[in-house]
Amino acid sequence: MSSSNIRVLYIDDEENNLTSFKATFRRQYEIYTANSASEGLKIIQSIDIPIIIADQKMPNITGVEFFKSISKTYPDAMRILLTGYTDIDALADAINHGDIYRYIQKPWSDLELHNAIKNAYDAYCGKIDLRNKVTELEKTNDELNRFIYSISHELRAPLVSVIGIVNLVKLENMYNSSGEYWSLIESCSNKLDYYIQKTLEYYKNNKSTEELTEIDFKNLIDQLVSVHAYTDIDTNFSVNVNQKVVFKGDYFRIEVILGNLISNAIKYQRIDEPSKKVVINVNVDEKLVDISINDNGIGILNEHLEKIFVQFFKSKVHHGSGLGLFIVKEALNKINGHISVSSDTDSGTTFTITIPNAN
């Protein structure tokens, strides 16, 4: 936009001022004038005006009052106040509330006013640019999320068919018919499926808003344990839930959090441990739920403790995906929960989480 296209509205009850303003600035800007606030408002309502200058002292309404009245409906317009006398209180108040951008003393100096308009216009453009950028970014983000979701879905559909075929092979007793090929196909497919499901969890955690439902922790944890422990019959689970009050929270996220922690407690057991065990303690009160998940597994090296919640962090020895605990942390962030961990390579790991009760 060349500067002559910049629209400036000047409101003043003194016609002389309007005329001289027009004479001074008409070459540089597209000038609109009004001799009262109500006339000014009519112009604003019909044309998009980025810069509005108003006189403070007008018969029915002061400049500050006028700016206040339009600051909600036309928040983008840059408002400059002209004032002949120093009405400091009204001015200070208006500036503090962000109702005006600049004030210029009357009689104005052409240069000062010109600079004020120029700066106001720059600030206006910055504001608009920033908003456009934010909208653009939100759109890109949204598209990216939807892309991840549909890709994950499209990838999982045929993969699920592969896993289904492997199941049939097992049922028809052909699993061992080709050396270890079927079991290799199965373990690759399961690994890929795991990544896809984690990606979906991550997407859903980012996307969905918190939805509160009643949660029965005994029920939820029993379900999760049976889902995750079906591949592992050696681990002995001890689940103690003390829930006497109703707990309301985000079911999906809490399920994701506990599911990942329980699955880790099973996955990172010591192979040669004769009594593998996982102890889960839950205590619910009116304010929050306190959950600890303790295992006697391989533990976490001290120098790794700080990094375990970082996306794609994996230890060299035990190949995880680097997603599970990252998703746990992200999900907890969304529902104002906390997690802490204590671990050593002798006795195992304890994760402790707290989640506020929304009931």
Binding site: V160, S161, I163, G164, I165, L200, K204
Partner: protein, 131 residues
């Protein structure tokens, strides 16, 4: 236990999954007959044709959610308008390869649907539903 004739209808646009699931169901030996439909439309046509001759009405339907044109939930909208003589003796389980929380709620809210299952289907789940 009552040994009622069991006829299962599979509705899925994915040919391979139809093959896998029908094989899996026949391996359980719990079912006498399997009807295969590759779209919701085809299934509705089939059901409507059974109005006179009630011989081939399914007792159980496995319905995929994600299908082009008519998805699982749209199929249910049409299904509930069918004659009670068809729907009264039939239960439905829905299938999906990705479980969306919204889908779970939507499926649970539907009186005809007894369960939403995540693919791949397992024998245990089938036994629980058909046994």
């Amino acid at each position: 236990m009552q040994t009622r004739f069991k006829r299962v209808m599979l509705i899925d646009d994915n040919e391979i999954d139809l093959k896998i699931n029908s094989k899996l169901i026949s391996l359980t030996k719990l079912v006498d007959e399997i009807i295969i439909c590759s779209s919701g439309d085809e299934a509705l046509n089939f059901l409507n044709n059974q109005l006179e001759n009630k011989k081939l009405i399914p007792t159980f339907i496995l319905l995929d959610i994600q299908m082009p044109e008519m998805d699982g939930f749209e199929f249910l909208m049409h299904y509930k308008k069918l004659s009670k003589s068809i729907t009264d003796n039939c239960t439905i389980a829905m299938l999906s390869s990705t479980l969306d929380f919204g889908d779970i709620k939507k499926a649970e809210a539907n009186p005809h649907v007894i369960k939403l299952l995540k693919k791949p289907l397992t024998t245990n789940e089938l036994l629980a539903l058909l046994g």
